[in-house]
Symmetry: C2
Subunit: 567 residues, 2 copies
């Protein structure tokens, strides 16, 4: 993913190396509220303390990583990088910001605010794993290097922009995994998401994680995600009777003729299917307001007729009303799209509906049996898994609440830890070994085995030579002495790429389009050994450090930890 | 809460009754992304179908309500109203929006887009319960009336803006309840929230629900919420030794003298407390990089010295280092603020820290024992409750992840249901009785008993006379025939107020300041009978309908429901 020389040349022409040039290239964050003030108060307190001690420009390296995969799984999809790069490209305090900061920190010297006025991210370098990659605990997703005071200011917005993005992308990927490749997945979460951009970013990241479309019009507009949606229960119940349809005419699809009374045509079909032997005579009187709503919708969208069939009673009213309208449309050359089920026993109802659709084929309508059945009532990984086990005839799932709020685990715990300052490695200790940070500025590699699967991720000190394909390397668990293994990788992939070179002349990796990131995500998940992805008791993927880094960690640890005294 | 005549006069002068005039008065939504495109695709499909059927201007009434209180509780705090009113005040499609809609709905006639170009909310009326009120299932939080196509377009953004706002406000109120009135509650959720405005609105609504301050600087700027924050573990570990402090001088608080070597003063104090009998000689060598960080922070903020004491070891290093710096500050007339604990056994550590602070009082520092102890490690309702049961010495809680993501229940299920169209009541049926909607345009009242507690909420048809204080009224469960009770209210409060009169000349209720809404919320929670609020097995609050509405619901239900046929 390193920039090609052509990209590099074009970047230089656009002012790479100058902050304004890079900002113009990268664009602004999706949410205009993601500004330099979107950070924790303590980042400013620390910035001032650093500044007072003359330490604000000390060169610091921070790692952004998480400690545990979400949803009881053994993989995570990394997302949010593009928004972080847009954030730093536009990182600057306005005079309004400065005045506000002065008002809340009146004890700080005026020169400090002059310093803040000048701050931008031209001295910052960001290395990152490409967005849409499959990632694992402890391995840095991003490595941010720069003046300690500036990089601290970035901590909160970076973690905010990565945490939810990665969580919801992973959730979407898990839903795709359980639904299978052949199903259509629709994100319907706008109304239940945690605020407007909870919803907007959910739409973006669910698409990235493998969804096919969204109901969110603004997200469709911002990101080019396909839109889907038909009508609601309110639409159905807003009609009272067929008398409410003033214009009953419908032109045939090929334009050759006009049916002057589409309503009568529908009623004829309804009578036919009500007495049809092939349908077993199961249909009695259907709800007329529902029929009116379906007819009205069909007149508006004859080529895209999709009906919500559960407002009154799916099998007794919704399905026969739908079939009558679909058959009338068929007479005029149109093909109905399908139905949506939003309540009840979705396995049973989808199977029964499919039987009816197949039976309707006998009215000389080949293909009617393949009518799309969409289901959408409070679905999640578990309910889709249960549907699969029971057997069902659902083609498309519309998923909202559980998907976008990540209901089963509403937060990912990304952290941002200092690993080096002024070239001196730092470690964060904790009583809990899982919370001890891995010190040093590091490089990270994914080692692939003979069958093309990734075997292990390894972190090494920056000064060490890279692992090479065909060369044996010892991979050690970072904290448990007895866990280690030799690996001869078939292929070696360096994980951290330079996405923000700041003032340096390092080439900048491109920020790919959403479609490309989505493809990367799909490919990465396919490359993973299936036992890491399965829902039940997945196998943990191995994450390791080099022998040299292992020794260094434990030396530093002993050095920093106080010796206890039992009393 | 009805507008006073003065407000009304001022509103008229500002152009009340004209849409532009009201928009100017009300202001824009907090998140600039909350625009007219922020809705579900199917709202546009329906709008087109209504328009094609000439039905788009039919006068519809929708109720926004929820079906179940969150978090296993029996109350909810209603929030998000102001954002909804700002949304409709600014509701308008731009030419950019129209072009986009044309591109995704190419099958629609051009005149439809001319219609959309003209759409605004001047024909819409919004009645609502005041923001910050305690509310209960089934009672409409908002009643939205207007042309059916327009009101449908509002469904998704309204539900989005209310759902999370009410959920997180309720969560904050629950945290306040368990922590008690005397504790300071700090919202620290920015980094773990679901996106930037998940965080920004969390800060606003947690303050509304009873928090005292936030760490989120942008939220402080936007809403005037007090800000809090000191330093992180990275700050502590960024220091290596006391040699890193270039300027060791500190002027005394009264300005009368300068201590040229504050570092030595701190070291003297450290030695004193290390050998002090009153401290039992528990302190050995402390971590010098931690000490350097504390000294540096104290030199920057001598009047606001608050230290994070758990980077290395709370009792062996953090506490003695803190005390040494605090005592040195005391020599110069400053009063240290306190400590923050971010890991370990918070009950035990806070108690042990308090013992040390009290013992330090013997160095002629009265009041040192009352040093503020803040705790902040993955706290939630349960952990605070557990701390209370164990006993602890924490004065302030910093709460993040569990609070802002509403981890224990990440979504509230507000819905928006059609209850009347062209003055004809509509009902939404469901196999699940809990999902049947209550039809008719309604008025809602809260009836108060002798002791000043609310007894029951009652919904009546718009045409019925209001309940009156001192007059007996029959309150019926909306769906269960046998549940009913006579009530003689001491006081009657009408719940739904007009917040958006549209073109009508109805007086508009004011949108109060955030502080006022917060006070309302606190007062309403205090007025509630304690058994409705308690965490364990709370008593459900009663919600009822008038006898007349009860009869009407059941008549309409029978009318609409198909008669089953057992086979």
């Amino acid at each position: 993913m390193a920039a090609t020389s052509a990209q590099r040349a074009s970047a230089d022409a656009n002012g790479n190396g100058t902050h304004a040039g890079m900002a113009a290239q990268v664009g602004a964050p999706t949410n205009p509220m993601a500004t330099a003030l979107l950070t924790d108060q303590y980042q400013f307190s620390m910035a001032y303390a650093y500044w007072k001690a003359g330490k604000h420009a000390d060169r610091a390296v921070f790692d952004l990583y998480f400690r545990k995969n979400p949803f009881g799984g053994e993989f995570t999809v990394f997302a949010g990088l593009e928004e972080c790069i847009k954030f730093i490209a536009n990182f600057k305090f306005t005079e309004h910001d400065i005045s506000f900061l002065q008002s809340v920190m009146p004890m700080c010297e005026g020169e400090f605010f002059d310093y803040l006025r000048e701050v931008d991210c031209s001295d910052v370098e960001v290395y990152s794993i490409p967005e849409g990659s499959v990632v694992f605990p402890k391995v840095p997703l991003m490595r941010v290097e720069g003046p300690v005071a500036v990089v601290q200011l970035l901590e909160t917005p970076f973690v905010n922009l990565i945490n939810y993005a990665s969580l919801v992308t992973t959730n979407a990927a898990r839903h795709r995994h359980v639904a299978g490749k052949s199903k259509v997945l629709l994100e319907f979460g706008l109304r239940r998401a945690q605020g407007p951009d909870g919803a907007i970013s959910a739409s973006k990241y669910c698409f990235m994680g493998g969804f096919d479309a969204t109901s969110n019009v603004l997200a469709g507009n911002l990101f080019g995600i396909p839109l889907r949606g038909t009508h609601s229960h309110a639409f159905v119940s807003s009609y009272m009777s067929l008398d409410e349809i003033p214009n009953k005419a419908l032109r045939s699809k090929d334009g050759s003729r006009v049916c002057q009374d589409f309503v009568s045509l529908v009623q004829e079909w309804l009578q036919k299917i009500q007495v049809a032997d092939s349908l077993g005579g199961v249909f009695g009187d259907t709800n007329q307001s529902e029929l009116a709503a379906f007819v009205s919708y069909a007149l508006a969208f004859p080529s895209n007729f999709l009906a919500l069939v559960d407002t009154y009673d799916v099998m007794r009213s919704g399905i026969p009303n739908f079939c009558a309208v679909a058959l009338a449309l068929h007479d005029l050359g149109y093909k109905a799209s399908g139905i949506r089920l939003d309540s009840g026993d979705l396995a049973y109802l989808s199977i029964e509906a499919r039987k009816v659709f197949r039976a309707v084929e006998e009215f000389n309508v080949p293909g009617f049996g393949r009518m799309v059945i969409t289901a959408s009532n409070d679905l999640n990984e578990e309910t889709i898994d249960a549907l699969n086990k029971q057997g069902h005839e659902v083609d498309a799932f519309g998923i909202g609440t559980y998907l976008v709020t990540c209901y089963s685990q509403a937060a990912l715990g990304c952290v941002f830890k200092l690993v080096e300052i002024n070239s001196k490695p730092r470690i964060k200790l904790s009583e809990d070994v899982a919370k001890v940070s891995i010190p040093c500025k590091k490089r990270c590699f994914r080692l692939y085995g003979k069958e093309g699967f990734p075997l292990v991720d390894i972190m090494i000190r920056e000064s060490e030579p890279s692992p090479k394909a065909g060369e044996r390397i010892l991979c050690r668990h970072p904290f448990i002495e007895s866990k280690r293994a030799y690996v001869v990788p078939q292929h070696v992939e360096e994980l951290l790429q330079c996405y923000w070179p700041g003032r340096s002349d390092k080439p900048r990796a491109e920020l790919p389009s959403l479609d490309k990131i989505r493809s990367r995500c799909m490919q990465q998940l396919e490359k993973l050994r299936p036992d890491h992805i399965r829902r039940l008791n997945p196998t943990p993927y191995k994450v390791s450090v080099s022998a040299k880094l292992y020794d260094f960690i434990h030396c530093l640890w002993l050095n920093e930890a106080p010796v206890g005294e039992l009393q």
